[in-house]
Symmetry: C2
Subunit: 612 residues, 2 copies
């Protein structure tokens, strides 16, 4: 974007602020559901600053600042240069978060007025802001729906993509089963309503999927479930006449007792139901409820008791049922074939002296996946990173001018697919030719860490943070480490990142239950040199009971060889070698029946057992 | 104790309850400082029930119940048989804790009156009790100082043992340095007083030690420190004329500005200082404050602000200074020599066909330690356990009729010494002759777990619970586990169990800081068969800084060989074997200069390197 455009937009915003008497405006990139990715309509930070990463923008009469964490420092510095917007670093020592910064900036003055779009900021954030200002009369927060609307004239609408439904043959549980289960939960808890606002929870509960958000097959909506009613706030306008998919879906949903409502009516209908005393005790999702809805509920407080917490849907969704598991296995078989096709092509092409850059490699991989029936797009933006690019764990591969691959050193590819029958996420680091000793060591130690976690057996009820050290200890032993989590939950044809479980240093008490799917992706990153990451998805399964208690273990879902050409086998112990050989044997047995000719031979070679 | 005596005591207690109109009495075994071990004066539960373990006794007109956890079920069942006292299990599913039991027992009646000795129950416990009863007027708690006094005519006095002082050459920091440090802390926090009630914190701060409590070299006392005064509430009566040690210590303390006060005057003096407005903001130790003192402070609340929390002394004490560390190394050298002498004797005696039982073995070990200059007793009761005895992690070796050792299977000895220059805690499991395959496997896997934790390198700031899995993973891999923590903090000539750090599954955020000493003691226990535990004390030390951050590692303080005769070396990997051989080399180098003849040859054999 041109610098002059940004400066003009900031000027316009400041004129609007002056006209309304606002001392500051907080813009976020968040949608009303706190989705991990948001639709372009909610890219307010980008509109006002040109910056496309995560972060919050704060504008006052004399300052404009962007708050973001280390993943985005380089990007923010580049994109904000010349805009006058200053970078404020978060998650660093001595960080001054937005609330504290604002409180200090306006300290000593009269009442400060801060404007926000109450749909795009969480209730918690506003509370934190109030706390920072201390005295109640020191701060007024005004919530303006679609705050930028008067200036952002070409602002995209709320997306309205075709809605599809999943039958029980795909989802395992039908939506009527799920609704009955949720209503039992309401009844047991003494609630007469639950408001779901997390889009993946709604999609799971109703067995619906859409394309409203990049990489996440979700439908922007709210869902209100009571003992007798199920109201889905979803329509954003009349259905396009050609959208028969959605028409059929709505028909099916209505038949199952789901009432289709307009997305924008949520406030009106909800306050009517609270006012009319249809709902006396309502459960809401504390982690995704936006400030506007929170305010609406608070105003109903005398008439209705509101309980905010973690909904039961998140945990239930994370524990996959047998049908979901069977299909996830199938999705990983198909995805593994695509990966093999890609890795085989990469090796052949480089050997033939062809010139391929990071972006072209990502495109080829996309083509491989897109030929799979049921493919619905990628599960996140492919990280296709060669050499020093891979030293950035969240590297964004540029469309033009990306690094060209040479037959030496390490190439890292972190990618995944959304299929109607599952979601995948895989990272392979590929030696493209000769590697340095350090590259080989890093490659091997990260694989050692990956294997040590993957082969773990552990008491039922163990949380991910209690296992995290297993993936890190082999790296720690040589004074190496990585700054991201080891594993995140993965949905079933839903978000590639989901809770409540994870495998990290942070203390998260959620046990890894049988049926949960979590990634295992340790890494080592060396700035300006290279990066290594090895990632499979692991399914937690029961491992029996004995005199010492009940046990769990992992089953790797991902089916794709780890390249052994850069492996320093001597750094692996026997049990690690045994795991690797057994894994490769399984990969070969599962994939080879679907391959022939050179690709089959390639896979046989790549999965050949290693010995010390 | 005779059953008739117990029944008579319970009858007397019930007559006293009836006379006073008390519906229930709660007796605890706790002293006014919540010490891990209490002096006989506080063994109220034992007096009234004959039961000598940990637990609370609740007596009503129609019921007497003892509440304790699984460590004591067997002991409680045996000791309570025929007394009419019923065992209530705690830390089990469906447990009904004392407060809930009382609330249910008296539900529906008029106001319930519960009598306690307010010095021997914590403020938290009384709060929990009030919460269980719900309505404020449903419960009256009456606190009677020395509640059992009228019945327990031969009740021991508060112990008054000789008080000794440690110079800075032993303690590292002089008491004036420590007092200055604590007063800086007061000043920085805006406090004008801190009341210490944990006996090990007081002993550390004043550099004093005593023998008021078994196994813990502590002095029963309170300490009040203000910016200008330091009041030690410790005198329980006139000093015996021959106690020159205490006289000298008191003189030295007085010279350093410590005012010696009567132990029983704490309430009077404290309320005077709060009343007289000498103290406006007082810090107290939330974890050891008893109910009576809490009540006294609460009554002063309008005049004085009370902040309850973790005192700074606990953490400061846990991080040993250079002089304490140097002496702990020395203590472990001496202790290691005693252990070698003991293990050598044990092997020789059994080989010579001598009959030794568990208790005799413990006595011999005591003799070995008692010859060390500066020995002040054991740091806890020695667990000397052969065969099935060792399957109980907290086995109490009986004085008479203990199991006789035979030249086969596993003997476990967990013991430690208090020396004026340090505290030790060591467990060795010794194969006395041929072992079964299962014994060998358990022996080896526990050692593997011990080594994997001991050899860990980890980012500075890592907490024990983030490392715990390292000691367990080798056991988990064969579906084995143990039900206790892996490691506890150890004091410097103080309690053998101290916080704030530990290494357990429980989430404790306290990092393992350089200078902390923690045990490493995984185990496997098989009821009716055998038990294995291997324990060294580990000192956390800095391991440098590099591009990945700052690092820590462990240095084993304990110096004593692990018997390799039962080792299945094939189960250890190369790095584990390397650790074991390096450890044994160090043990030999440190101890052998102090040994000669057969013992030196024995140690050389026992520390010989192993190979696969």
């Amino acid at each position: 974007m041109e610098l002059s455009v940004i400066r003009e937009r900031l000027d316009q915003l400041r004129r609007m602020m002056a006209a309304h008497g606002w001392d500051a405006v907080i813009l976020t990139g968040t949608d009303p559901h706190r989705s991990e990715y948001s639709a372009p309509r909610y890219h307010a930070v980008e509109w006002a600053s040109g910056y496309t990463g995560e972060g919050d923008l704060v504008v006052t009469a004399d300052h404009a600042g962007l708050w973001t964490d280390s993943r985005y420092f380089i990007q923010a510095n580049a994109q904000l240069e010349g805009t006058g917007v200053q970078l404020h670093k978060t998650r660093v020592p001595d960080e001054v978060p937005v609330p504290q910064w604002l409180a200090r900036h306006f300290a000593g003055g009269s009442e400060t007025v801060v404007a926000v779009d109450g749909r795009c900021i969480s209730a918690t954030e506003v509370t934190t802001l109030r706390t920072a200002f201390g005295a109640e009369d020191a701060l007024t927060v005004v919530s303006i729906p679609d705050l930028l609307q008067p200036l952002w004239t070409d602002r995209p609408a709320v997306p309205q993509t075709p809605v599809i439904t999943l039958g029980a043959e795909l989802a395992g549980w039908s939506r009527t089963q799920k609704l009955s289960w949720l209503r039992r939960w309401l009844s047991e808890g003494g609630f007469d309503g639950i408001l779901l606002s997390a889009l993946d929870e709604i999609a799971w509960l109703l067995n619906v999927r859409g394309e409203d958000i990049a990489y996440n097959p979700l439908v922007i909506s709210y869902l209100l479930v009571t003992p007798t009613d199920c109201l889905w706030f979803v329509r954003k306008g009349p259905l396009p006449p050609e959208d028969h998919e959605t028409e059929d879906s709505f028909y099916e949903l209505t038949a199952d007792g789901v009432s289709i409502q307009d997305y924008d009516e949520i406030g009106l209908v909800l306050s009517g139901m609270l006012d009319g005393e249809f709902i006396h005790r309502l459960f809401v999702d504390a982690s995704t409820l936006n400030y506007d809805l929170y305010q609406l509920l608070k105003e109903s407080a005398p008439r209705c008791e509101i309980e905010a917490g973690r909904t039961p849907v998140g945990l239930r969704k994370a524990v996959k049922n047998e049908i979901e598991i069977a299909q996830m296995r199938e999705a990983h078989l198909e995805d593994g074939l695509a990966m093999v096709q890609f890795l085989f092509w990469l090796e052949q092409s480089l050997a033939a002296g062809e010139s391929i850059d990071e972006y072209e490699a990502a495109c080829y991989l996309h083509d491989c996946r897109s030929r799979i029936p049921g493919f619905r797009g990628e599960s996140f933006e492919t990280i296709s990173a060669y050499g020093p690019s891979a030293a950035l764990p969240h590297y964004v591969t540029p469309e033009t001018g990306s690094r060209v691959l040479f037959p030496q050193g390490l190439y890292l590819c972190d990618s995944g697919g959304q299929y109607i029958f599952g979601t995948t996420d895989i990272t392979r680091t590929v030696p493209l030719g000769p590697c340095t000793q350090l590259e080989k060591e890093d490659y091997t130690l990260v694989l050692k860490g990956h294997i040590d976690l993957a082969k773990a057996v552990f008491p039922r009820g163990t949380a991910g943070c209690q296992l995290d050290a297993l993936a890190r200890a082999p790296l720690w032993a040589s004074l190496r480490n990585f700054g991201h989590g080891t594993g995140h939950g993965v949905g079933f044809f839903l978000g590639v990142h989901e809770g409540p479980q994870d495998i990290r240093q942070n203390f998260n008490r959620q046990p890894l239950l049988a049926g949960m799917i979590t990634s295992d992706e340790p890494g080592i990153y060396r700035e300006g040199r290279h990066g290594v990451r090895h990632e499979n998805l692991l399914l937690t399964v029961d491992a029996g009971t004995n005199e010492f208690g009940a046990w769990s273990r992992f089953e790797p879902l991902t089916l794709c060889p780890f390249d052994t050409s850069a492996l320093l086998v001597g750094l692996l112990d026997e049990s690690e070698i045994a795991w690797l050989n057994a894994y490769h044997k399984r990969v070969y047995e599962k994939l080879s029946p679907r391959l022939s000719g050179p690709a089959a031979r390639w896979l046989r070679d790549k999965t050949a057992p290693v010995t010390r």
